[in-house]
């Protein structure tokens, strides 16, 4: 895991992190509108039974997104 860039998709349930940026310009516009802003804290809440999608807390509310979407949100180490 060390080499892999850390993203919201690699977080564990209960973990919190700070959003660093995005790896996909197209989705990032939508993600930012939904409150996933660089510098904002994000908490990984839980996964759906098959591991996808996931539920995170951001901007004070609960957002569900797919793993592939979460993987485009990089987090600070």
């Amino acid at each position: 895991m060390a080499e892999k860039e850390k993203s919201v998709a690699t977080m564990k349930p209960g973990e919190t992190a700070i959003i660093a940026g995005f790896t996909d310009a197209e989705i990032s516009a939508k993600l930012m509108e939904m409150g996933c802003l660089p510098g904002a804290p994000v908490r990984f809440n839980f996964k759906a039974p098959f591991g996808d999608p996931i539920c995170i807390s951001v901007l004070g509310y609960e957002l569900s997104l797919r793993l592939e979407e979460a993987a485009t949100i990089s987090i600070m180490n």
Partner: protein, 706 residues
């Protein structure tokens, strides 16, 4: 008020912001659902009294997150705000923001404020905000945003009078935009503003940024924007994220001053605990299936009483008509065509009403979002989306409202596939066919001690429809080759109790749209079918009475029996009968004769007609559809002249069951798919693939079992 245009107020807000509650509170039953021109997004319009203005139109726009559209819903809002020349354009805006989730709501608000319409901010769910311990400096918010802020609780109706007063008085007070357009865009914006006569820079900036989303722009204007972009070397798109960051920066600064007390999220603890159970890998699915079971159980158990009642009512009315009115073609059209056709629509209202009440409850509580969350991964494997669950579930009652429910799916391909496979879910119109055929071929015995074998058979048919829906979806996923990214990104709202009036109004609205949508088509079709079944080539029909009387002269038939014979003879020699006989070679490999062929023809437009046609063709028309035992025993006696054995063998029965599980046989669904996909391509493909599936499956079943 001496403004030239009458005041029109648009309600705008995020999904789950309580916008619909506010709309319902403002307008009550005084609302109707229409369509935005050219698209199928519902437009809810109502009326309310505003102080000093009087009766005013209120438009409930779809819930959105931003005016940069990514779904059809979002595009509609962007268009209605930016198309200032449209006669339906709102003149004032109320932005509804969830006070417990203020930042994301304010993002939308700041965009709308910059468009420059008189705006009021309705800060909703103040009760929950109080519970969360958050408190705001409303005066500060008002001043910094340049709009009046009214705290409300739309569910309880608190703050509504103050809101109405502020809407009536709302004017544009903010002179500086919250987001000034980028220096790079200034020159291009200036040019567009002059060309299009726009009132401010941000409107022009929207035209510059996303002309492709604004469908009201003519081709010339689109080209104009394109040339302005080229002249000024302005390439849109890359600034969108930066604008969002700048707006959130403004909001953060504002809230640093305007939030007097930070929220404490402890009030959400219950919701979080509930999520642990409801999205658990075992308990979550178990509860979901239990909910599904309960929903279907109540739809079928509760709806049967009012359905029987309505059915009887229409039958009585129709026989009363034919006895009262002078005999003639018009009376018969009314009594045998139109009234039974109307009855066929109204009869399904109870089931649809109950189903949609329950779906509305599940949506209001926030549980439906969890169902989407649970099912998304599984559904995607089949080219569907977690949001396809609602249409598929609703399809068990009726495909028409179910197909309309697919609008929430943003991705075109997933939405189309959902629409294409939903009619494979066994709708309530199939039940009469299923029950009579099952009664005919499946013995009423118990398996494993307590399962009724007939019940198991019925259950299997539902399962068969569901499996076929998934399998077809999977095939279409492979066939439709469209590169469009699919998103989920959906809020999981905090759980809460459903509100009765919201559920009630949703129910009324959905039922109304079913009756109107299906009604038009079914009515038209029932007239056509009546003509087909009542008239025929040559003069056989005219002489039917004399012929049958002569035929049966020494059979000592009762008057009733004679009339039934005549009816059967007429049907046999009508156009429907002629077609039924003509298709016999094609359906013979399926095990059907021309009599079944007639039923296939008459039920082509609406499958529920099958049973009634069977009754008429077997000369027991007067027994009525309700008298299933009569029909059943008559069908049991029917002999296949070629084999000398009963016509309805296990093979024929199963073949028919499979046929009706898969066949389209519903003109109203075709009409709705046409409307929802805006063209004949998809409804025709759907009709073709479902008919082929039905025909070949039935063929296979019969050939293997015979």
């Amino acid at each position: 008020m001496s403004s030239a245009k009458p005041t029109k107020v648009a309600l705008i807000g995020n999904p789950n912001s309580g916008k619909s509650s506010l709309f319902n509170y403002l307008t009550g039953l005084n609302q109707k659902v229409g369509n935005f021109p050219g698209v199928t997004v519902d437009k809810k319009v109502g009326r309310t009294q505003l102080p000093g203005i009087g009766e005013t139109e209120i438009i409930d726009l779809p819930g959105i997150y931003s005016i940069y559209p990514r779904s059809l819903d979002e595009r509609i809002v962007a268009e209605s705000l930016l198309d200032r020349n449209s006669p339906t354009a709102p003149t004032k805006v109320v932005v509804v923001v969830d006070a417990t989730n203020i930042k994301r709501g304010l993002l939308l608000l700041t965009q709308i404020v910059d468009i420059g319409l008189p705006t009021v901010l309705a800060l909703n769910m103040m009760d929950l905000a109080a519970k969360a311990g958050v408190s705001y400096d409303f005066l500060m918010l008002s001043q910094k945003l340049g709009v009046t802020v009214v705290p409300i609780n739309a569910r309880k109706g608190q703050g509504i009078d103050a809101l109405k007063k502020e809407i009536a008085q709302a004017e544009v007070s903010r002179m500086q935009p919250i987001f000034p357009v980028w220096p790079e865009a200034k020159a291009a914006v200036k040019q567009l503003r002059d060309e299009f006569q726009l009132i401010n820079d941000y409107q022009a900036y929207q035209f510059l940024e996303q002309p492709q989303s604004l469908h009201f722009l003519s081709k010339d204007k689109q080209n104009l924007v394109e040339s302005v972009r080229t002249t000024h070397q302005y390439f849109p798109g890359k600034f969108q994220g930066a604008e969002t960051i700048q707006r959130y920066g403004f909001i953060q600064d504002l809230l640093n001053e305007a939030i007097l007390k930070q929220p404490d999220y402890a009030w959400k603890n219950f919701s979080h605990k509930l999520d642990r159970v409801l999205t658990h890998k075992v308990a979550g699915y178990a509860i979901f299936f239990a909910v599904l079971f309960l929903v279907f159980q109540s739809v079928f158990a509760w709806a049967s009483y009012p359905m029987d009642f309505i059915d009887g009512l229409f039958a009585d009315f129709s026989s009363w008509l034919s006895n009262t009115l002078p005999d003639g073609a018009l009376t018969r059209l009314l009594a045998e065509g139109i009234i039974p056709g109307l009855g066929g629509i109204v009869m399904f209202v109870p089931q649809i009403a109950i189903l949609f009440a329950l779906v509305a409850v599940l949506e209001e509580t926030g549980y439906m979002a969890r169902v989407v969350f649970l099912m998304d991964k599984v559904m995607r494997k089949f080219g569907l989306n977690g949001k396809s669950v609602v249409p598929l579930m609703s399809g068990v009652a009726c495909a028409i409202p179910a197909i309309m429910a697919a609008r929430t799916i943003d991705n075109w391909k997933e939405r189309t596939i959902t629409i294409m496979v939903t009619p494979l879910m066994s709708c309530s119109a199939r039940i009469p066919i299923f029950t009579i055929l099952i009664a005919l071929i499946v013995p009423e015995t118990k398996v494993l001690g307590f399962f009724n074998l007939q019940g198991v058979a019925l259950m299997s048919l539902y399962l068969l429809g569901f499996v076929a829906a998934l399998a077809s979806a999977w095939v279409m996923k492979k066939l439709i080759n469209v590169k469009e990214r699919s998103y989920l990104m959906m809020e999981l709202p905090t759980y809460r109790l459903p509100k009765g009036t919201n559920v009630g109004l949703t129910l009324v609205e959905k039922t109304k749209s079913f009756v109107l949508e299906a009604g038009k088509v079914i009515l038209a079709i029932s007239v056509v079918l009546w003509v087909l079944a009542s008239y025929g080539p040559g003069d056989k029909l005219k002489n039917a009475e004399a012929y049958v009387m002569q035929e049966t002269a020494n059979m000592r038939l009762t008057e009733q029996g004679l009339q039934d014979r005549i009816a059967a003879y007429k049907l046999e020699n009508s156009y429907a009968g002629v077609i039924g006989k003509a298709i016999e070679p094609a359906i013979k490999p399926l095990g059907y004769d021309w009599k079944i062929g007639i039923a296939l023809i008459t039920s082509f437009a609406a499958r529920e007609v099958f049973v009634g046609t069977m009754a008429t063709i077997y000369s027991i028309g007067s027994a009525g559809e309700e008298d299933q035992n009569t029909i059943k025993s008559r069908m049991q006696q029917e002999i296949n002249p070629e084999t000398g054995e009963p016509r309805f063998t296990m093979a024929v029965g199963l073949s028919l069951l499979v046929f009706y599980t898969f066949a389209m046989q519903c003109m109203s669904t075709i009409a709705v798919v046409y409307r929802e996909t805006k063209g004949w391509k998809w409804p025709l493909i759907q009709l073709a693939y479902m008919s082929a599936l039905a025909y070949f499956s039935a063929l296979l079943v019969y050939q293997v079992l015979k």
